[in-house]
Amino acid sequence: MSFEPTIVSFLCNWCSYTGADLAGTSRIKYASNVRIIRVMCSGRIEPTFVIKAFTEGADGVLICGCHPGDCHYHEGNYKCLRRYHLLQKYIQQLGIEKDRLRLEWISASEGKQFAELIDDMTETVRGLGPSKVKEVMTTYT
């Protein structure tokens, strides 16, 4: 059986989670590899959550928020963007491939884009193969 990656996704309530709901109400099909966690704003998403997802065995982590300028809380998504850039640099230092962590903007009307994003990321991460993070962090050598 081919490798099925697990992708943990953090979505803001107002845009991205609603967009994912719209994919549902529009019955748009996409890969079942994604597991969604809802936060009110992408500004709530902090590096600890992303790191935790990796250490628990996620093969990829996807962060979604409102498009720049459209944040329900005005500017939480910019805070998220700043953290994402620093976090990317950090995880790469630890040897985690950059494509395992992705930040995308999904609006409440972008159900289709959300579905396409999940399919795309699933394939990217499938191509990278299973993440070694959990095994390495729990096995002392």
Binding site: T48, L81, H85, V136, M137, Y140
Partner: protein, 325 residues
Amino acid sequence: MAKEEKPKIKLAVYWGAACGGCCVSVLDVHEKLFDVVAAADLVFWPIALDIKYKDVEAMPDGHIDVTLFNGAVRNSENEHLAKLLRQKTKVLVAYGSCAHMGGIPGLANFTTKDELFKRIYDETESTVNPDKIRPQPEHEVPEGKLKLPEFYNDVRTLDQVVDVDYYLPGCPPQTERLVEVFMAIVSGAELPPKGSVVGALDKAQCDECKRKKSDNKLIKKFYRPWEIQDDGETCFLEQGVICMGPATRGGCGVRCIEGNAPCRGCYGPPPDVPDPGAKMMSAIATMIDADDEEEIAKIVAQIDDPAGTFYRFSLPGSMLRRKLT
């Protein structure tokens, strides 16, 4: 009537992968040493006393009241002693940053044993080793078998090897804090719950820091400390210099900051923080004063080594405790 003598407690101090600074911090009790020896018998302390491992092995379980274990666990000898001392000790204290979170030796988790050995035994400028000889755990010589501890790939914190009762943080811990903790134990006062960090505050450094601080924590450019003329009185972060103070427990007396150097985080994070560097990483990133993605990336690029900066003393004790290889 003769005053009834309180039985002395049995104290051990041991070093794993450490620089020796923690042992020095114990010596730094100066004249308080008399109080210590009045209250405690030192039953094991390799840098100061000639007591052999086999002497410790011969002790009954739980014989030692308190062991201050400093240093990380880097090889089989450290591991053996950690387990041995755990067995022989009632209260095992991870003493100092290395035992607590991995410390400076823990930065070796950015690399591997093989890479380290290659550098040390093949590549350093003063090395001549054409046969690429490596230290072996066992080696036969005419006189018999020589043994060396096995060098591990990972640097571990003490609690990744054995159960730890308390953590006394710092690189090294402030001697005053050690004395306070020690005296509290000796006095028979009720001890904090197992697993507590002792000898440090719950509040972070800023609470004690005397520098002027405001809400103006917006950073357009990060400076290394040598790149900027510190005005000596403004919050380092407000000058664009990364200071781990807000994410680091107080208790050290903000000595680095008093010495005009930003805090580097040796006292570890405040209570209930799941990862020692991630909160500060999040806070620092939030302070970046840009919304444009390109500009953000440019400013982030000024932080040369985020992992080494935010986990300088805590890499082995963090969630991503080593580099993937």
